[in-house]
């Protein structure tokens, strides 16, 4: 009984199993305790011994794993077998272990990846090559980004957490969705953080199950957002990009219709944005200009819309916030009008800048025809640029706030309607309307305008019209 390393005498010398790496990781888990040792190999197994002298959560757990007879495992004498592997390890169907970093299997289990355990022990598999040298980066509890390195002792300790619960018949649910950790994974991640604490490295976000290679090219887009804003501002985590990410993930993609809208916007955005990226690469001066003229007004506008629609600020507050932001943005009314007209395709771009002419042509051909881009990006930016022009006319902050909020309401009620509205059962329709009421359509007038359009869009029947009226999206006394 106890903890064993697979020695793999059959394959030794060919480089597929690394028991010495695993032992080194166990020494780190023991907090460099001199009481850890190993018996000479018997068959393919090396028995780990441990006489604990170091205190701490991780040495305590290791002591339990090495020196306990676990009744949950019927087999005798083996309880836990560790296979320290590299990036050559595959499941029976060819799936690479590198997609997961590690895996722990119940006795006799074959999992959905095709990894199989032909023994009566708990079987720990982990990749000591760090994904072939790229490294495994997980979501940091503090950084919130997938930038947290995962040393091998941490991976092994995580897997041993699963093994511990297998041995004590206390495994938790593996049901997971998205990147959210299942209860079983979350428990292992909480334990994993004990090892990170012992090593003195930052902690992992224990609610998140995803990761990415730390190096070697473009990432998974789990944290990235909006390539034009990213390049123009010079960072995927600039305040502007963070603001856009927040709108995307915390607001837009949370509801069914918002998600559907985003899918259209996303598709159309990537119909022209790579070309903008190319133009910025060729002409670095364009980068600064796009940041100042387009990205900042867009994110500032979204911030004000949020303050108005979601946070409940009044017109005065919106005007004040605009004034503060505009002073920092410092866009002249001439430039604001030029950019607005360019975005709306209303006038010829002055011929002083050939890059701008190329950009204007691109926007006209590929951005403006999309109702999703026009509403989501162009109109949003233009409302802010309009306000920059009004500001130059000497309007007070409160008057500016009044005009801006009126524009926000008119804009909100003109949100493009996708096919997703047709597919909603009444209960979900009610939920979506409640969400829009709460998050975007603040005034009754904007809700009624939107409701009129929606009723026509979905050819609403009497029951749906009644539901919409009760939700405040149609007048109670009449149908559209």
């Amino acid at each position: 009984m106890g903890l064993f390393l697979l020695n793999d005498s059959d394959a030794s010398g060919t480089g597929g199993v690394f028991p010495m790496s695993a032992f080194a990781d166990l020494v780190q888990i023991s907090n460099m305790d001199g009481g850890i040792g190993q018996d000479p190999p018997v068959g393919d197994l090396i028995h780990i011994t441990y006489t604990q002298s170091q205190t701490g959560t991780c040495p305590n757990r290791l002591n339990t794993l090495v020196n306990t007879t676990f009744p949950a495992i019927p087999a005798d004498p083996v309880d836990i077998v560790i296979l320290a592997l590299d990036n050559s390890f595959v499941a029976s169907n060819g799936t690479l272990l590198g997609a997961f970093g590690g895996e722990t299997l119940n006795p006799g289990q074959t999992d959905s990846n095709g990894f199989t355990n032909p023994t009566n022990s708990a079987l720990v598999l982990y990749d000591t090559s760090q994904g072939g040298g790229a490294g495994y980066c997980l979501k940091g509890a503090v950084s919130g980004n997938y930038d947290l390195q995962t040393p091998n002792p941490v991976i092994l300790y995580h897997e041993l957490s699963h093994a511990f619960r297998i041995c004590t018949a206390s495994s938790l649910s593996l049901a997971a969705s998205g990147c959210t950790a299942s209860p079983e994974e979350a428990a292992a991640e909480v334990d994993e953080n004990d090892m990170r604490t012992q090593l003195g490295i930052p902690l992992r976000d224990t609610t998140d199950h995803c990761g990415q290679a730390c190096s070697g090219g473009a990432g998974p887009n789990t944290g990235s957002c909006c390539i034009v804003a990213t390049i123009a501002t010079g960072s995927p985590y600039s305040p502007e990009v963070n603001a856009l990410r927040q709108v995307r993930d915390s607001f837009l993609r949370r509801s069914e219709v918002g998600y559907s809208f985003f899918e259209h916007l996303h598709h159309d955005y990537y119909g022209f944005s790579p070309e903008v990226r190319r133009m910025m690469a060729v002409t670095p001066e364009l980068k600064k200009l796009i940041e100042t003229w387009f990205v900042r007004p867009l994110t500032a506008s979204l911030g004000l819309i949020r303050a108005w629609s979601l946070d409940g600020c009044d017109e005065n507050e919106i005007g004040k916030r605009f004034e503060q932001g505009a002073a920092e943005t410092n866009l002249s009314p001439e430039i604001a009008a030029l950019v607005r007209d360019m975005l709306q395709g209303r006038s010829e771009v002055p011929a002083f800048n050939s890059d701008l002419i190329e950009l204007a042509a691109l926007l006209q051909q590929r951005a403006q025809p999309s109702p999703y881009i026009e509403w989501g990006l162009i109109q949003t930016t233009c409302m802010y640029l309009d306000a920059c022009v009004w500001r130059s006319e000497g309007l007070s902050p409160s008057a500016l706030g009044e005009r801006l909020t009126a524009a926000f309401d008119a804009w909100a009620s003109a949100m493009p309607l996708t096919d997703a509205w047709h597919k909603l059962p009444r209960y979900s329709l009610n939920e979506e309307l409640a969400f829009l009421h709460r998050a975007l359509l603040r005034t009754q007038e904007s809700r009624l305008r939107f409701g009129q359009r929606l009723a026509i869009h979905i050819s609403a029947d009497d029951a749906t019209l009644k539901l919409m009226a009760e939700a405040g999206f149609l007048p109670l006394e009449r149908k559209p």
Partner: protein, 177 residues
């Protein structure tokens, strides 16, 4: 708001918009290096897997099959390491270089064994390669609503798969100073 034509689904993207123009591999003594040349014939930037997720080897025909796809990946595992992606410009080409191990290691089937038995497959002996590359016309973003496992989201994101076969090549000559 002016009503304009919905262009979202009108872009001329088809199954052959992204093709593997060429694939080959060589053995540098430490790894197998596969070179996958992707060509985009569409007017949109396309986005393709750039990470090998599955490797199979047929020793009888000495054929290596490499999937840049998660369609055979399961949902277990202690982390889900996202694949990398590569954009391919409209009308352009991109080369994806894959660094593959020279052997595959896997556990042999069995029951009630005291210890797992492993086998090693010498894929460096391969003479030909089959490649499959999943791609789409937008970048992949995980769904923050989190209703489906991220692997399932990846599978649903894929629009088409580009396939090609290639041969083993001589290793490029070592550079001398």
């Amino acid at each position: 708001m002016t009503t304009k034509k919905d262009t979202s689904h009108s872009a001329p993207i088809g199954p052959n918009s992204l093709q593997v123009k060429d694939v080959g591999f060589h053995d540098d003594g430490n790894n197998l290096i596969a070179e996958v040349r992707l060509h985009n014939s569409s007017p949109r930037t396309l986005h393709a897997y750039a990470t090998a997720r599955n490797i199979q080897y047929d020793a009888a025909t000495k054929t290596l099959k490499v999937l840049l796809s998660d369609r055979l990946t399961g949902e277990g595992g202690s982390m889900f390491i996202h694949p990398k992606f590569v954009p391919v410009d409209p009308g352009g080409e991109t080369v994806v270089n894959l660094q593959l191990p020279r052997f595959l290691t896997r556990i042999l089937p069995g029951t009630n064994l005291p210890a797992p038995k492993l086998e090693r497959l010498p894929i460096h002996e391969a003479t030909s390669i089959q490649i499959e590359v999943d791609w789409s016309d937008t970048p992949f973003y995980p769904d923050p609503r989190g209703q489906k496992h991220v692997r399932q989201q990846l599978v649903e994101w894929v629009k088409h798969t580009a396939r090609q076969q290639g041969r083993r090549r001589e290793a490029p000559p070592a550079k001398t100073s």
